[in-house]
């Protein structure tokens, strides 16, 4: 089975859905894989909940929903409350440790990335936390290749924001000390 299911969640404004779009776009456009992304968000566009689900596969995706994710990327405590119980037993949880100080301890693999403080302190750009998380994801599990993700990031942001986001991706990548792959 080549199918990988991911849930990426946060609160509105953190860019969780964009992170999912970049991931899916990288898989389809640059890695020759198949991907489906779906999403849900509350009617308030800032501060409510936001979640996106991505299925990445080497074959066309038949069932497009994520029901038992292999990976949950959580950018807020709310995301843990909503989605941590859906993770597969040996699933991977990647949290923004600034926003989720005490993740549940009954999960197979937990990666704590201080994405918000890296974004604030090192890049002076809090909005890049989602891309930092994406960098971390890339190091934890090669769902999609690093090259494809970098190209998809460049596609997704304006010319002026290109280097900032590539730096963010790189900082997230480096923040993972012990990758799984």
């Amino acid at each position: 089975m080549t199918r990988t299911e991911l849930t990426i969640a946060g609160v509105g404004g953190q860019g969780s859905i964009l992170a999912g779009t970049v991931l899916g776009s990288a898989a389809v456009t640059y890695d020759g894989k198949y991907a489906v992304q779906t999403q849900a968000y509350s009617s308030e566009l800032r501060g409510g909940y936001a979640a996106t689900w991505v299925v990445v596969s080497d074959e066309p995706v038949v069932f497009p929903r994520v029901t038992r994710p292999d990976i949950l990327m959580a950018q807020a405590q709310d995301s843990i409350n909503r989605f941590s119980h859906t993770l597969k037993p040996d699933g991977i949880l990647i949290v923004d440790s600034d926003m989720v100080p005490t993740p549940p301890d009954n999960i197979g693999h937990i990666f704590r990335i201080p994405a918000t403080s890296i974004a604030r302190n090192r890049l002076k750009a809090p909005v890049t936390a989602n891309i930092i998380m994406l960098g971390a994801l890339c190091r934890v599990r090669r769902v999609v290749s690093r090259e494809a993700l970098e190209k998809a990031i460049v596609d997704a942001v304006s010319k002026e924001q290109e280097q900032l986001n590539l730096d963010a991706f790189n900082l997230g990548f480096e923040a993972v000390r012990e990758p799984m792959d």
Binding site: T21, G24, S25, A27, V28, T29, Y34, A35, V36, Q37, T38, Q39, A40, Y41, S43, V61, V62, F63, P64, R65, T67
Partner: protein
């Protein structure tokens, strides 16, 4: 010249609603009117930007009623026209959907369905308008409705919707839902020459409607569009084959209602598309739209466990594929109808199948979420116990 690209040939990771917008432009649509509504807004948002680049016009109207009326006006002015909305907007458009049918106006109506009435649960996909698009306007009539299961089909079936609307002079619905509208997936946009798009026939000439019979032909008459000297008389009032009002002759009334219906039903084999994969099966899952993907996954699971299970997906939901359903029913033991609602097409399917096999409805475990394949399988096992 930097004229906007009409067809974005290539492979994209694209949201369903945007694929629909690109399908419209690829099909040659040059007039779109709409009023913002979740979860359909991305269709018109995209077209507002793209249309002027290809020489078209987008009008954001004061309400959904104006949206469909101006689109019908544009169609009579000779353009391929589209409007996009969701369930509550369809409710507001209903009177003029009937007008478009009665005046045999080519038109594409995108309905990105959602859950509940009015504000309801606007971003949750649910097939809530399956019957209202076909039976919601007054009178008696036939429209065409196509149900996409993926962003790719949001593109492909939008192109086909224009093809059928123009070919048969009828409103054609693209019945998507929030799930597929907001879904992003691989979308392959082909080259222009690979797209099948028929445009409407226009009369050769003549400026006295009494010399022509441009209305009510079951073989689809050419359309005397405005601005070319045809002096067309267009009314949704009961009219004869010249388009002239006639409220006194019962036979004219009969033709006025029957012929636009026969026009569609007589060509049902060209219009109806059904994806069928059930050879050797004793159980068949009948579905449409995004639920079709659940059904296919469930059938794979079932087959792997030794249950002879097949699939029938209605790509065309209206005109209703009665013969196709009948054919399935007569060759299997059990039909399970999967719908993301409490059974909107079920009565129509049951009417064609119940004489020949067992038939049950199965909604999703949670309305608004398409069925989990394992849930389908578990329920089938219970049903056949």
């Amino acid at each position: 010249m930097g004229r906007g690209k009409k067809i974005m040939t290539g492979t994209h990771f694209m949201m369903g609603n945007l694929a629909c917008a690109e399908g419209a432009i690829a099909a040659g649509c040059e007039f779109v009117s709409g009023y913002p509504i979740t979860p359909a807004s991305e269709v018109v948002n995209r077209l507002a930007k793209r249309l002027p680049e290809v020489g078209g016009i987008f009008l954001q109207t004061e309400d959904e009623i104006a949206a469909i009326c101006s689109a019908i006006g544009a169609s009579w002015a000779g353009q391929k026209a589209l409007t996009a909305t969701s369930g509550p907007g369809i409710s507001l458009m209903q009177e003029n959907i009937g007008f478009a049918v009665a005046t045999e106006t080519p038109l594409v109506i995108v309905d990105v369905q959602r859950l509940g009435p009015s504000t309801g649960a606007p971003s949750v996909g649910l097939a809530g308008d399956m019957v209202q698009v076909a039976r919601g306007s007054h009178g008696d009539y036939q429209i065409v409705a196509l149900c996409p299961e993926s962003p790719q089909e949001m593109f492909d079936l939008t192109v086909r919707a224009f093809h059928l609307a123009e070919k048969y002079r009828v409103p054609v619905f693209l019945l998507a839902d929030a799930f597929v509208g907001h879904m992003r997936e691989q979308v392959i946009i082909p080259e222009e020459k690979q797209l099948e798009i028929e445009s409407r026939k226009i009369p050769k000439g003549g400026n006295d409607p009494m010399d022509r019979q441009d209305f009510l032909s079951v073989d689809v008459a050419p359309m005397p569009v405005f601005g070319r000297g045809f002096k067309a008389h267009v009314t949704s009032s009961c009219h004869d084959e010249h388009g002239m009002r006639n409220l006194s002759d019962p036979e004219v009334m009969h033709r006025y209602i029957s012929r636009p219906i026969d026009k569609i039903l007589n060509h049902r084999d060209d219009i109806i598309q059904v994806e069928a994969d059930y050879s050797g099966a004793s159980i068949v899952l009948v579905s449409y739209g995004t639920v079709g993907r659940s059904a296919r996954a469930a059938a794979h699971l079932a087959q792997a466990q030794g249950l002879r299970t097949g699939n029938v997906r209605l790509i065309t939901c209206w005109p209703f594929p009665d013969r196709e359903i009948r054919q399935v029913a007569e060759s299997v033991d059990f039909i399970v109808v999967l719908e993301n609602n409490r059974g909107q097409l079920y009565p129509y399917i049951k009417a064609e199948a119940a004489h020949a096999c067992r038939i049950e409805l199965l909604g999703p475990e949670t309305l608004g979420q398409i069925h989990d394949p394992e849930y389908i399988l578990a329920r089938i096992r219970e049903m056949i116990k």
